[in-house]
Structure formats: structure tokens, C-alpha cells
């Protein structure tokens, strides 16, 4: 394990920990905004009850997302000082836009959203939920612009030892940005909808707060039913726009070491050193079909087309994609089955389906994390694809420093994750029954007697 490996592991784990929370809160923020709007318009107490319950689930996840996001900003300078110094002129302002257009908006209004109930008017409350939702969406926009630039860099020249912007439109709207952005935003909403439906299903299984539970499951599955098929279309477009620019990633995703395989690899244990798969399971001819050759003669490109020094490690790229893909099939199957149940009027009586739905609470989060593993490990050995190697971008730190920070982050993040899961479980057990009380501030009373 080299110091480079340690810095990479630190970044990978801290960024994945961070991503877990936006994967739920971006969608939940939009959901909260809709719920409060419905409550404001209709005056119906059910929507207020839902708003308060889901807000409690949202609150801690949002805070965890914020503080773990701050870490990422600093890590780019701490562990990747050369990366920061060389890409700062391009990436820096894009991240700056994220901070001013999203971070501040969220942070400024989250206090009102969380603690304003009963202290500010309903119009102000609604405005706060809208601002927080807009903030999370804008945040996704700029972060994806920055990351997409690292995947498919454009609009710059390399001079004076750094990336200097020449055309901001090209840099921001780089070739992969719009498709990846749509794909990510859609993913965040889908994962939140499975999260909401799953927690709703928990109450169906328990036979508690049925009207609340049914409405949550309905909304969750309804949103997913529209967005999951759309997501498969978006994902396909991400691949077709990004892969021509990153052939090495495409080769690693398909799991082939040489370019003659007309089948499609669904399972493989790659051996990078020997440049072959120890175990491999193919679906015959499917690989050729994907390349639009129904005669089963087109072999898929393999990693042999990329020089060894420029190859990504196949294992995380291959499996990152497979986990995302298998999860998406599972989600598609779930909504298909739910739709059938609904037409046969069995959606509210099928206990087994409710139980299954409950276990699929984290499915969207898993798919998002796996997708990012593929995107980021597939870009290796580059940090800015084709221009800056990860090994050249790392800070020259002492081993003691990195060991300290890796252990510090792991320990703290483990505790935080445990606290978060315990908190969600407790909030679920306590249930939304207590959220029906009118007008009094539910959380954190500001006026103490």
C-alpha cells in the first residue's frame, strides 16, 4: 500500500460516504416542497403530517451531506494539492458557483425549513422548502459539470503548468455533462422514491398509520414508475456519449481482455496482472447485438486495445457497472410488478410485496454508489482524463499524516453512519403518529419556558 493508494482510499471512502446522503436528500427536498405546497393549498392535515415525518428523516441526512461535502472541498487541496494547483483555474470557479448558487441557498433556508414551523408564516415556510429544493438541484448541476470536465475535459489549454480556461461554455457544457447530469438527477429522485415507498411499506407491514403509509407508497412507486424507464434511456445515452471519448472505460465495463468476444460478460473475476479473467460467464451473441450486429460476428473491444500503463483496474469498473445495472433491473421489475398488482387491486393486500418493498429501501443508493464507482475507477489512471495522471496529482505527504487522517475519517464516519441508521430506525419506530399535532413547533422549540 503506497501513500498514493492511501490518499485514493481516503478520497474514495469519504466521497462515497458523502454521496450516500445526497442520494436521498435531493429527492426528499423536492418531495418535502411538494408536500408543504399541498398542505398550504388544501389545508389537509395528512400532508402536514407527512411533511413533518419526512422532514425528520431528511434533517440528519441533510446535515451529514453538508459536513461530509465540506470534507471533499478541502481534500482536493489536502491530499491532491497538485490537482488543485493545476486544475484550480477551471474546476475552482465551477465549484465556486456550486457554493454560491446552492450551498448558501440550502444553508440559509434549511434552518427555517427545520425549525420554522409555528415561528414563521406558511408562505415563508413554503418559500424555504422551494429554496432548499432548488439549492439541492443546482448543487447537483455544478458538481456534475465539474466532474464531467474531469471525465471529458474541453475548453482549456495546458500552459504555465496548469489548465487554463479558454472557453467557459465548452468547459462547463463539456461533451458528457448534460447526459450525466440528467442521469444523476433522475437517479437521485428515483432513489428517494424507493426510500419513501420502502419506509411507507414498513408501516403497511406493521399495520400502522395506513393512510399515511399508502400515500407514501403510492407517491414513491408512482414517481419511480415514470422515472425508471426514462433512467434506462438516459443511462444508455451517457454510455454512448462518454464511451467514445473514454474507450478504456468502455473496455473495462464490458469485461473483455481481448477484442474477439461476441458474447456479453455477465460475471467475471478479472486478474489484472495476467490480463485475463479467472472466471467468466457469457451470454452468447449479446455483445454483438449490443454493437448492432445481429449476425453475432462483431467482437467487443477489449482492454488489449489500451496500453497497460493507461488501463483502469477492471474489477471495480466491471462490477460497479454490473451492480448498478442489476439494481436497475430489480427496480424496473419492482415497479412493473407493483403496476400489475395495482391493476388487479392487490397492491394493498400483498403482504409479501410490502415486505420486499421494505427491503428495497437502499436499492437506489446502492445503484448510485455503484455507478459512481464505475465512473471514477473507469477514468483511472487519469484524474483529468488523458491529461493528468492520478499519481502525478497527489500531495507529497508524510505517511503519518495520511494514516492519521484515514483512520480519523473512517472512525468518525463509521460512528456517524451508525448514529444515522439508529436515528432512522428510531424515527421509523416512533412513526408519524406524533406529527398530527397542530401549530406547535415539533422540533426544537425555540421558546423555552
Amino acid at each position: 500500500m503506497t501513500l498514493l493508494d492511501l490518499s485514493r482510499w481516503q478520497f474514495a471512502t469519504t466521497v462515497m460516504f458523502h454521496m450516500t446522503f445526497p442520494a436521498i436528500t435531493v429527492g426528499l427536498a423536492i418531495f418535502l416542497c411538494v408536500l408543504y405546497g399541498m398542505h398550504w393549498r388544501t389545508g389537509s392535515p395528512v400532508y402536514l403530517q407527512m411533511f413533518r415525518f419526512w422532514r425528520r428523516i431528511f434533517a440528519l441526512g441533510f446535515a451529514l451531506g453538508v459536513v461530509s461535502g465540506i470534507v471533499i472541498t478541502f481534500e482536493m487541496g489536502l491530499n491532491w494539492g497538485v490537482f488543485a494547483a493545476e486544475t484550480g483555474p477551471v474546476i475552482g470557479p465551477i465549484l465556486g458557483m456550486e457554493v454560491v448558487m446552492a450551498f448558501f441557498v440550502e444553508a440559509g433556508f434549511i434552518g427555517i425549513l427545520l425549525y420554522g414551523d409555528g415561528r414563521v408564516g406558511r408562505g415563508t415556510m413554503f418559500a424555504a422548502t422551494v429554496m432548499v429544493a432548488i439549492g439541492t438541484v443546482l448543487s447537483t448541476t455544478w458538481i456534475l459539470a465539474a466532474n464531467s470536465w474531469m471525465q471529458t475535459p474541453s475548453g482549456f489549454v495546458f500552459s504555465n503548468g496548469r489548465f487554463e480556461p479558454t472557453n467557459w461554455m465548452e468547459a462547463i457544457f463539456n461533451p458528457s455533462f448534460l447526459w450525466r447530469y440528467a442521469h444523476m438527477l433522475n437517479a437521485a429522485i428515483i432513489s428517494a422514491s424507493f426510500f419513501v415507498a420502502g419506509i411507507g411499506a414498513y408501516y403497511l407491514v406493521r399495520g400502522r398509520v395506513l393512510s399515511f403509509a399508502r400515500r407514501s407508497v403510492s407517491i414513491g412507486l408512482g414517481v419511480a414508475a415514470i422515472l425508471v424507464p426514462f433512467q434506462i434511456f438516459l443511462g444508455d445515452n451517457v454510455a454512448s456519449h462518454e464511451f467514445p471519448l473514454q474507450p478504456s472505460k468502455a473496455e473495462a465495463v464490458e469485461g473483455n481482455w481481448n477484442s474477439g468476444n461476441t458474447g456479453y460478460v455477465i460475471f467475471a473475476i478479472p486478474d489484472q496482472q495476467a490480463q485475463r479473467n479467472i472466471v467468466q460467464v457469457n451470454i452468447p451473441c449479446l455483445g454483438s447485438y449490443i454493437y448492432e450486429d445481429l449476425s453475432c460476428q462483431t467482437g467487443n473491444p477489449g482492454l488489449d486495445l489500451t496500453p497497460t500503463a493507461d488501463q483502469p483496474t477492471m474489477l471495480p469498473v466491471f462490477w460497479g457497472f454490473r451492480v448498478m445495472w442489476f439494481a436497475s433491473i430489480l427496480m424496473f421489475g419492482t415497479i412493473l410488478y407493483a403496476t400489475i398488482l395495482r391493476f388487479r387491486r392487490k397492491l394493498w393486500t400483498s403482504r409479501r410485496f410490502h415486505r420486499f418493498l421494505m427491503w428495497s429501501i437502499p436499492i437506489g443508493i446502492i445503484a448510485i454508489l455503484a455507478g459512481w464507482v464505475m465512473a471514477e475507477t473507469g477514468r483511472q489512471p487519469w484524474v483529468v482524463f488523458g491529461h493528468l495522471r492520478t499519481s502525478d496529482a497527489v500531495s507529497q505527504l508524510a505517511s503519518g499524516e495520511i494514516v492519521f487522517s484515514v483512520l480519523g475519517f473512517w472512525l468518525l464516519y463509521f460512528l456517524m453512519l451508525a448514529a444515522y441508521v439508529a436515528y432512522i430506525v428510531r424515527a421509523m419506530r416512533a412513526g408519524p403518529e406524533r406529527d398530527t399535532a397542530p401549530a406547535v413547533p415539533v422540533i426544537a422549540p425555540m421558546v423555552m419556558a
Partner: protein, 327 residues
Amino acid sequence: MTMADAIFVLVLLCLVMYVVLDGYDLGVGIGTLFERDRQHRRDMLEQVAHAWDGNESWIVLLAVILNAGFPLAFGTILPHAYIPLVIMLLALIARGISVEMASQSSLDDRWVLAFGIGSLFAALAQGVVLGTLTQTLTVVNGAYSGSPFGAIGWFSALSAAGVTCVYVALGYAYIKRKATGELRAKAGRRGVASAVLASVLVGASVVALRGTAAPLNLDNAARAIGFGGLLLLAVGGVAITLVTLRPASRNDSLPYAGLVVSTVALIIALVVARYPVLVPPTLTVYNTVSPQNTLEFLALGIGLSLPPLLFYNWFAHHAFRGKVETS
């Protein structure tokens, strides 16, 4: 004034906004460690629960503007101050989560304790980071290369104590503004003590700068006059605070305002005396600045966003304005 200077002013603005805003909520957090009354600890925490998030945004903006505008400085200063910055991040995480957990579950007091400890470590670490800026930077081939604790010297200990006391004083001044009764009186008494201690430590630090690699540069008249004037303003701010922070004084908004004036004046005074050097020996505003194209984007994108940012920050405080019954 060049474009580089304009962006540098933006960095400074973020720095002072961060120090006066997150300074008070870190200070309130540290104050909970010295508070024996359980209910008062809770009241103090509730005073920052809805605001810490917005206040902390300024340090994120500080980091990204530094990264965008002075990328070489960002890429060398952060590794230079690696250990204290990591401790700061760990402390800020623990503290942010503790605020939310504590205000969501009113029974568990361990989160309040974690909030206090996190605040203390964040403040100390920031003081140490400030201290590392007075230590000579070792750069080889355009990248930082120094020993892990090489950047932390005796001055760092002094500045850590100074920064922490300034935050505590800001925290108590804020609490006096927001609280009533017993908590208000306590905040006044402890606030005066911490403001005196902060003044002594900061004064000692400014004198001690002479012994570091980053002594004050007051060679020409303009610098000397600017520095002297700002220092006088800082002393005036502290004087106002010391008079009005006493529980007997009925003015509850001047103590915080006085400290804000003196903190901001002090930061600008130090910058006036060190400009354009960022870190000794050679890292300056001019040799780390981004290309023109980047600076223009920053000036436009971030500059135009500043009025709404300040509005959000003001509004977040405005929505929860006024005194809170605390005893």
C-alpha cells in the same frame, strides 16, 4: 488595483464573514463546556442550531475561491497545514451532527457534550492553521514537501489559544444579545473575562510575530499608518465591548458589534502589514494567481452572487430574531 487584488479582497471578505459568524457559534459551543446548568446548555445550543449551517458556508466559499483564484496557494497551504486542517474537519463534522442529533432528541445529553468538544477542537485547530502561515513553506518542484509537524511551531500554540478566546468572547456576546435572565447575566460576566483574555493573547501574538518567519512589514508610511489606524479601531471595538458586555449594561447589541469591529479591523491590519505575501518565504498573491479568464469568471459569478448570499445569511438570522426566554 488589479484583478488579482479584487479576488484577494473576495477571499478576505469570506474570511472575515466566517470568523465573525462561525466564530460566535463555535464560541457558544465552547461555552457549553463551562456551563453547569443543563437547561442553559440546551438553550445555548438551540441558539445556534438554525444558524451554524449558513455560517459555516463561508469557510467553504473561502476554500473554493482560494482554489479558483490562487490555485497554487490552495494546493500548497493545505498540505502544509494538513494535520490541523484534518482535525478541524473532523471536529466540524462531529459538531454539525451533534447539533442536529441534540435538537432532535432532547433526552440524550452526550450530543451536547460532543457539540462542545467539537467546537473547542475546531477553534483550536483553526488557530493552529493560522500559526502555520507564519512558518516557512517548503516547496520542491511546485509541490509542498515538508515534515508532518514541521509547520506547527510555538507560535501556533499561542495563536490557537488566541483564536479560541476570540471565538468564546464572540459567543458570549451573542448569547447576551439573545438570552434573558440568569443566562444573559452569566454570558455578560464570562464574556468580559474571555474578551480580556482574548485581547491579551491576541496582543501577545501580534508582538510575537516578530520572532516568526512572517514579521510585520511596516517599512513605508502608508502601511504603518494603515496598520496603526486599524489597530486603534480594534482597541476601540474591544473597549466598547468591555463596557457594554457587563451584565449591568442594558445595551445587548453593542457587545457583539464591538467585537466584530475589532476582529475585522485586526484581520485587515495584519493583511496590510503582510501584503502581498501569503506564506513565507515566497508564496504571494501575484505568483499564485489564476489566469485572467478565471478571474473574470470569478468576479462576475461570485461577485454578482454576493448580495443574495449576504441576504440569505441575514434572513436566516432575521427569521429567528429577538430575545428568547431562557430562565
